[in-house]
Structures are given as C-alpha cells and as structure tokens.
C-alpha cells in the first residue's frame, strides 16, 4: 500500500518535472525563434490552421453566450424594473468572463485536440524521432510555431467572441424583448470600461499559451497505439479545461487587486 502510494507520488512529481522542463524549453526556444525569421513561415501556417479556421466556431459560441445571458437575466431585472440595465450585465459578463472562458474552452476542444492528435500520431510513427535524427530540435520545429500561433491569436479570437456576444445580447434584448436601444447602449457604455475589455483580451494570451503547451506536451508524451493517442487527446482537453478555469480565477484575483490599487474609489460609483 505504502509502496504503491510512494510510486504514484514519485510518478506524479516526475510528470510535473517533465512538464516544467518542457514549458521551460518551449519558452527559451520561443524567445530565440522570435529573433529568427526562418520560423515565421511555420508560425503563419499554424496561425491559419489555429486562428483563421476557428473564427466561425468562436463567433457562434460568442453569439449564443450573449443571447442566452439576455434570455436568462431579463426576467430577474424586469421584475425589479431594471430591464434597461440588461446591457451592462450582458456586456460585462461577455467581455470579462464568459466570452474569454468559453472561447478558450471551445479552442481547447478544437485546437487542443487536433494538436495532441497530430503530434501524438507523429510521436508513435517516429516522425518526431525523425526530426531529431536530422539534427533539428522538435521543440523549435513543431512546438514553438503552434504555441506562438495560439498565444497570439487567442486574444484576437476572444475579440470576435466578445463582438458576437454583444451583438447576440443586443439582438435578444432590443429586437426580441423590446428594450429601448438608446437606454441599452447608454447603460452598457457607462458600465463597461476599457479595463474590462482589456482584462478579457489579456486572459486570452494566458489561455492560448496554456492550451498549446499542454496539448503539445500530451502529444509528445503519448503512449503507443490508437488508444494512446485517444487517451492523450482526452487528457489534453481535461488538463486545458482545468487550467483555463484555474488561470481565470488567478487572473481574476490579480486584476481585481491591481484595479483596487490604482482606482480604489471607482467601485463606489
């Protein structure tokens, strides 16, 4: 019993160590690659695969988030006669929390799964060993372009999600539920600050990096066979999902502390 517990603990610590080393190598190599123009075409290719092709699904996600929020919140606010404040609730929720988080979760499913499956298949068919055997660092050739593409484009995709979330909320609130358009936008403008939008977009850098690094790591370390690749994809999604939620909480605490430090009285307005 103790031996099993000990072995599992050592295994867990070793895994954390291997992951930390992988992250460190990725960071160092990414920094070097930024100065080398030779990596740029690889990054562009991944940006197309990761970013451009994700736009429709991210926009759909954002739109439904905004519309659902409007439908759910209207009754409560209307009961208090505050239905014109619906815009503040929807837009601040979309740009600060739900837009970034749900867009990142959608990306973890769409991009994370694909990255793990692709690199996992390359791993079990010895293609990653082939890259190494030809004197090329697989982190530089395979991981860095994917991580940088994900890191740079997730914030841009969050802006798309925010935009469609705002439009979705507006469509339900104003067109379907008949809230006055001018009042809707006035309350929204007074309640949502540039800070709120920026927080959502900044979260995107962290979410994007986490999704890409976790997915690439799981692909690089997946076990042999179809089952191994499938299991790695599942583990990559679960780990990405949990890391998104954990990062969202941590960034929420940090940004709130920063906000209260610089603008201590704004919360009273």
């Amino acid at each position: 019993m103790i031996a099993i517990l000990g072995a599992k603990t050592i295994g867990g610590v070793s895994n954390v160590g291997r992951f930390a080393r992988f992250v460190w190598q990725t960071m160092i190599t990414s920094a070097r690659c930024c100065a080398r123009t030779g990596t740029y075409p690889l990054i562009w290719t991944q940006m197309n695969i990761i970013g451009v092709r994700s736009v429709p699904v991210i926009m759909i996600t954002g739109a439904f988030v905004g519309m659902t929020l409007a439908i759910q919140a209207y009754d409560q606010l209307a009961g208090m006669g505050l239905e014109e404040h619906l815009g503040v609730l929807i837009n601040i929720s979309v740009v600060k929390e739900l837009g970034p988080v749900l867009a990142a979760v959608m990306l973890a499913g769409r991009i994370g799964g694909a990255l793990t499956a692709e690199l996992g298949t390359m791993n079990v068919t010895e293609q990653i060993d082939a890259v190494r055997s030809m004197g090329t660092d697989p982190i530089r050739y395979l991981v860095v372009p994917r991580v940088l593409a994900c890191l740079l484009l997730t914030p841009a995709l969050i802006i798309y999600a925010d935009l469609l979330g705002i439009l979705g909320g507006y469509f339900i609130s104003v067109i379907q539920l008949g809230i006055n358009s001018r009042a809707y936008w006035n309350f929204s403008a007074s309640g949502v600050e540039l800070w709120d939008v920026s927080i959502g977009v900044i979260k995107g850098f962290f979410f994007g990096a986490a999704i890409a690094v976790i997915s690439c790591y799981k692909g690089f370390t997946c076990k042999e066979g179809a089952h191994g690749v499938g299991q790695a994809c599942t583990e990559a999604f679960v780990a990405s999902f949990i890391s998104i939620l954990a990062l969202n909480f941590a960034l929420g605490v940090i940004t709130k502390a920063i906000y209260n430090t610089f603008w201590p009285l704004r919360g009273l307005v």
Partner: protein, 285 residues
C-alpha cells in the same frame, strides 16, 4: 547554399572505429535491454546487427545517434564522446548521420520533395531554390523515384516510402547511414531492391553503414560484418561465414529460423488444441 552550423570534429575520446560503444547498458525501468556492450563500428564498412524481435537492436542504433541516452557507459563518434552532450550539440553531430526508420517516418504533411528538402532547409541558408530542386532530383534518382517529387507519402506503397525515406536520409550526404529493419514488411522482390540500394549507396558514397535486421537473406547479401544480439549481449561477431558456422546454438537457431526446444516445451505445456477448445458456431454465451 551556406551551412548554418560548422561541424566540430575535436577528438575527445578514444577508440578504433567511427562509432565506439564502451560498456553500454540501457535499462527501461527494471528491464535491462542492453547489458554492458562494447563495440566499434568500422568506417566505410557495412555492419549488420541481427537478433530476435525485441532484443534491443533498434535501441542499440538509437544510441549511435543520441536518440536514446545510455543508463551507463559511453558512446563515441569520431573519437568524440557524444552520450553526455546537450541536445543542441548532438544536433550538430546528427548531421553526419542518415537514419532510415522502420516505417519510413515520412512527414505526412509534406510532399516527397518537401520531405527530402526538410534537412537541407534546416541546416542551410537557401539562396537558390533551383539548386535544391536539383539535389532533390538527384537523391530521388539514386533511389529510382525521380518524378515522384509532388506525391504525398499517403499515396506511396510501403517500398516506395522506404526509398523516399532513404533519399531523405542521404540528403545531407551523411558519413554514416543507419537502417532500422529496412526490408521488414516488404515482399522478397521489393526487399531485394532495398538491399541493392544499400549496396549501391555504400559503393557510390563510401559511407559507413549499420543495418538492423532479422532478415538473414538481406544480412548475408549486404554485410561485411554481422553482430548478433541476444538477451542484451553480443553473442556472435564476424563475417557471414563466421556467423554461418558459429557454434552457439542460439545463433544457429536464429539464422536457420528454428524454434528452440525451450520454446517448444512452453507450447507443448499449454496442451494440444483440439476441436473441443473452439466455441461452437451457435454459441450464445
């Protein structure tokens, strides 16, 4: 084209061959795959490593190129110790090698030409793409596949994939080519084409060749020297005649394709398969 990294040939270690292993042991967990192996691979010769499946042949040649690190012992390439080098230093050493993987390991997302260009693009600053296309054409011509530049690996047969992988392996004009089971999975004619290619490349390029195989027809045809691995140790080492006449029973069983008495005893102990052991066709569970 300009070379990105100049090769560093500073001799550090010692030894007689181009690749030297000293007391190399490799363990995976508690499983000892290679047990205190010492070996020197001669320059310009074809060395064939034989042995039963799972005996550690592939593990052995992966140490030559630093794809695996030994649990203990030392690996030298051109008298320079390489098993303790960091990855970026090993990457320079690896440009001396060509490695043909068992299943080819071609990049699915790249065309045949893209695969062969890959190592060239990684190590040279390309200023003239026509020159690179000429190199690709020449390498493909060497393996008899000129004209296949725009094909993708998915549309090639098993033998063609291995030939393209071979063209990729020789793209940087390596000094050593490592072949991992080059004839496995091929019919006898295609297997012989690969054997002829190995001989042709050795003749024309004069490089050092190490082939891992359990195909004895191939081994006898191409080998200057044959090494047999068993239970992590070298049990036979010599030319084809030496191996043919080797007194070790395991060597004779392997080269003649005979099952050992121990294995037969295990099979017999499990009983004779009779009709009673098969489920009837209308079995409902």
């Amino acid at each position: 084209m300009k070379k990105d990294n100049e090769k560093n040939d500073t001799p550090v270690g010692d030894g007689d061959g181009i690749i030297v292993l000293k007391n190399l042991t490799k363990k995976f967990g508690d499983n000892i795959v290679l047990d205190n192996i010492s070996l020197a691979i001669e320059k310009g010769k074809t060395t064939v490593v034989i042995g039963p499946s799972g005996c550690g042949k592939t593990v052995l040649i992966k140490h030559f190129i630093g794809l695996l690190r030994p649990s203990s012992g030392e690996v030298y390439f051109k008298k320079r110790r390489i098993d303790n080098l960091p990855e970026n230093e090993l990457n320079k050493i690896r440009t001396y090698y060509g490695f043909l993987f068992q299943a080819g390991a071609l990049f699915d997302s790249l065309s045949v030409a893209g695969n062969i260009m890959f190592p060239i693009r990684q190590h040279y600053k390309i200023t003239d793409w026509t020159e690179v296309e000429e190199i690709v054409k020449a390498k493909l011509a060497m393996v008899g596949l000129d004209g296949y530049q725009h094909f993708y690996p998915a549309s090639l047969s098993g033998g063609q994939k291995k030939r393209v992988a071979l063209a990729r392996a020789i793209a940087l004009n390596p000094e050593v080519i490592l072949y991992d089971e080059p004839t496995t999975g091929l019919d006898p004619i295609r297997a012989d084409i690969i054997n002829e290619l190995i001989l042709k490349l050795q003749r024309e390029l004069g490089e050092t060749t190490v082939v891992v195989t359990h195909d004895m027809t191939s081994a006898y045809k191409i080998a200057d020297r044959i090494i047999m691995l068993h239970n992590g140790k070298i049990i036979a080492d010599g030319d084809a005649d030496h191996i043919r006449n080797h007194p070790h029973p395991t060597v004779q069983q392997f080269i003649n394709g005979q099952v050992s008495e121990d294995d037969l005893a295990v099979l017999r102990a499990r009983g004779t398969i009779t009709q009673a052991q098969f489920l009837p066709r209308d079995f409902k569970g």
